[in-house]
C-alpha cells in the first residue's frame, strides 16, 4: 500500500510535468492548426538556461529568468518565423517547426556539448519531505508538484476569468471576427506562443535536476508529449490534463511493478516451454512490465484512437 502511494505521488510529478508542456502545446495547436514539433526543445532550452544561470547566481534566479528568456525567444520565433511561414500553409509550418527542433538541438550541443550537465536541485530542497513506510519522498518533488499546480491554476484563471482569456478563447475559434472587433489578434497569438514556450521552459528548469539535462532530453520527452495531447484530444486543455496524469501514472506503475509475462501466461493456463532459450517465443516469455513500460503510452494512444479518433476530449474531426 505504501509503495502504491509513493507511486501515485511519483506519477503525479511526471504527469504534472507533462501537463506543463501539453497545455502550452495544445493552446498553440488550437491557434496555428499544426503541431509545434519544437515545443519540447523550448523545455530543453529552459533546462540549459536554468542550469547556466544557476552556475552564476544559483537555482532560484534561474527558475525566474530562464522561462522569461525562453518566452521572449519563443515570441520572437512566432513573430518573425512562424507568422511568415503561416501564409504558405500547414506543411511548410510543420517543416519549419521540425527544422527548429533540429536547430535548437544543434545549438545546445554546440554550446554545452553532448554530455549531461551537473544541474542539481537547490540545497535548500535536498531533504526528505516525508516518508511512507521507509520510502522517502524528496522535498524537491513536492516543490515540483506545487510549481506545476500553481502554473495550472494561473493559466486556468487567465483563460476563464480575465478579459484577455476570453479574447484568446474567442480568437481560437474565429480569429477574423475577433480582429474585426478591434482586438490585435496577431499580438495575442504571439503572446500565447511566448507564454506556452515559457511554460515549457519552467518545466525544463524544474525537471532538469531530476530527469537530467542533456541534448536528448527534448526528443525523449517530446514524443511522449505528442502522444499525450493526441490521447487527450488536440486543442483540449482538460483532455491534456487528464491524459498527462494518465500517462504519468501509467509509466510510473509500469516501472515499479515487476510483473513478468511468464506469470501472466501461466495464469491463463499455458505452460512454460522447457527449452526456453530454443523456443521461438522466448522473448515473449521473458518479457517484464518495466520492459514494455516505455511503449505503453503509444499502446494507449492506439487504443484511444481506435475507440475515439478525436481523443478523449477532442472536438475536432480528425
Amino acid at each position: 500500500m505504501s509503495l502504491f502511494i509513493v507511486n501515485i505521488l511519483d506519477g503525479l510529478v511526471t504527469g504534472l510535468l507533462l501537463f506543463m508542456l501539453c497545455s502550452g502545446l495544445t493552446l498553440i495547436f488550437s491557434m496555428m492548426g499544426v503541431l509545434n514539433f519544437a515545443h519540447a526543445s523550448f523545455y530543453m532550452l529552459g533546462a540549459y538556461f536554468g542550469y547556466q544561470i544557476s552556475t552564476y547566481v544559483g537555482f532560484w534566479p534561474g527558475l525566474i529568468l530562464a522561462p522569461i528568456i525562453v518566452g521572449v525567444i519563443g515570441a520572437a520565433i512566432e513573430r518573425y518565423g512562424l507568422r511568415r511561414v503561416h501564409q504558405y500553409g500547414h506543411v511548410p509550418e510543420l517543416i519549419f517547426t521540425f527544422g527548429l527542433a533540429l536547430l535548437i538541438e544543434e545549438v545546445v550541443q554546440f554550446f554545452w556539448g553532448k554530455s549531461q550537465m551537473a544541474f542539481e536541485a537547490p540545497a535548500a530542497l535536498k531533504f526528505a519531505a516525508f516518508s511512507i513506510a521507509g520510502n522517502a519522498f524528496p522535498a524537491y518533488k513536492v516543490f515540483m508538484i506545487f510549481i506545476a499546480i500553481g502554473v495550472f491554476l494561473v493559466l486556468l484563471y487567465i483563460l476563464t476569468k480575465t478579459r484577455i482569456g476570453m479574447i484568446i478563447q474567442a480568437a481560437l475559434s474565429y480569429p477574423e471576427t475577433v480582429q474585426n472587433l478591434g482586438h490585435n489578434v496577431p499580438l495575442i497569438f504571439m503572446g500565447v506562443f511566448g507564454v506556452g514556450t515559457a511554460m515549457a521552459a519552467i518545466a525544463g528548469v524544474i525537471a532538469g535536476p531530476v530527469l537530467g539535462t542533456f541534448p536528448g532530453m527534448a526528443v525523449l520527452l517530446g514524443s511522449i508529449v505528442f502522444v499525450t495531447i493526441v490521447i487527450g484530444g488536440l486543442g483540449s486543455l482538460w483532455g491534456a490534463l487528464l491524459a498527462s496524469l494518465l500517462i504519468g501514472w501509467l509509466q510510473t506503475f509500469a516501472a515499479a511493478y515487476n510483473l513478468r509475462m511468464a506469470d501472466l501466461l501461466t495464469a491463463i493456463g499455458l505452460t512454460e516451454p522447457a527449452d526456453l532459450a530454443q523456443s521461438l517465443l522466448s522473448d515473449l516469455w521473458t518479457l517484464t512490465l518495466p520492459q514494455v513500460g516505455p511503449i505503453l503510452p503509444y499502446l494507449l494512444m492506439i487504443i484511444v484512437l481506435a475507440l475515439r479518433p478525436q481523443g478523449l476530449f477532442g472536438k475536432r474531426e480528425t
Binding site: 479574447i167 471576427t177 490585435n184
Partner: protein, 235 residues
Amino acid sequence: MLKVRDLNAWYGKSHILQGVDFEVGEGEIVSLLGRNGVGRSTTCKAIIGEVEPAGVVEFQGRNLAGMKPYEIAQAGIGYVPENRDIFPGLTTRQNLLLGLKPGQKDGDGAGRWSMQDMFDMFSNLRERADVDAAVLSGGEKQMLTMCRTLMGDPQIIMIDEPTEGLAPKIVQQVGELLERIAERGVSILLVEQKLTIAMKVSSRVYVMGHGRIVFQGAPAELEDNPDIRREWLEV
C-alpha cells in the same frame, strides 16, 4: 464620413471588385443591394481590411486602405459579417463584452451603448445572458452579433445580410434596431439582397452588379426604375 473610391479586390486571380465607388454620410443609412455573388460581402471585407484592397477607403478624412482589420475597427468602423459567428464556449454576456475595444469599459457612459441597452432592446438576450451563446436561435444570434459590434461604439456600422433566413417578425425587429442605431448618430451601410427593409430605412441605395456600382439614388428612384430592378435585382 466614409468615401470609397475605385475600390478593387482580388481572390487569387479573380478580380472581384472592379472599381467600386460610393459614400455614406454622417448618420445616414445607405443600402448596398445586389444579387448573390456580385461582391457585396467582399466590399465590406475590403473596407475592414480582411481582404486586401486597392483604391481609397477614406474615413473621416483618413485613408484606411492597407491598415490591419483591428486598426480599422479601432478607427471607428464596425462590421457585422454575414456568418453570424458566435464565440462558442462563451456566454451571451461574454460575447457582448468582447465587442468592447481595448481600454473601453461597459456602462461608464463614455460610449453610446451599454450592455443594459442591448438587454432592454432584446429581452431574449437578457434571459440567455449567462448561457453558452452557441445555443441561441438564428434570430438571436443575428441580434447578438449586431449588439456585439455596437458595444465597441463604432461611428459607422456595416451589416451584411442581417435579415437572411429570418422570420418576418424578426426581420421587423432588425429594421427597428437599424432605426435606433441611426437615432444615436451612427451611420449604417446595410448590405441586402431583398428590398423589404432596405427600401424602408435607407436614405440612399446603391445597386451592385459584377463588382461595380450600377445604380445609385433614393429608394423612390429605384422604385420608379423597373429596368434596373429587372436587370440587377430580381431573380
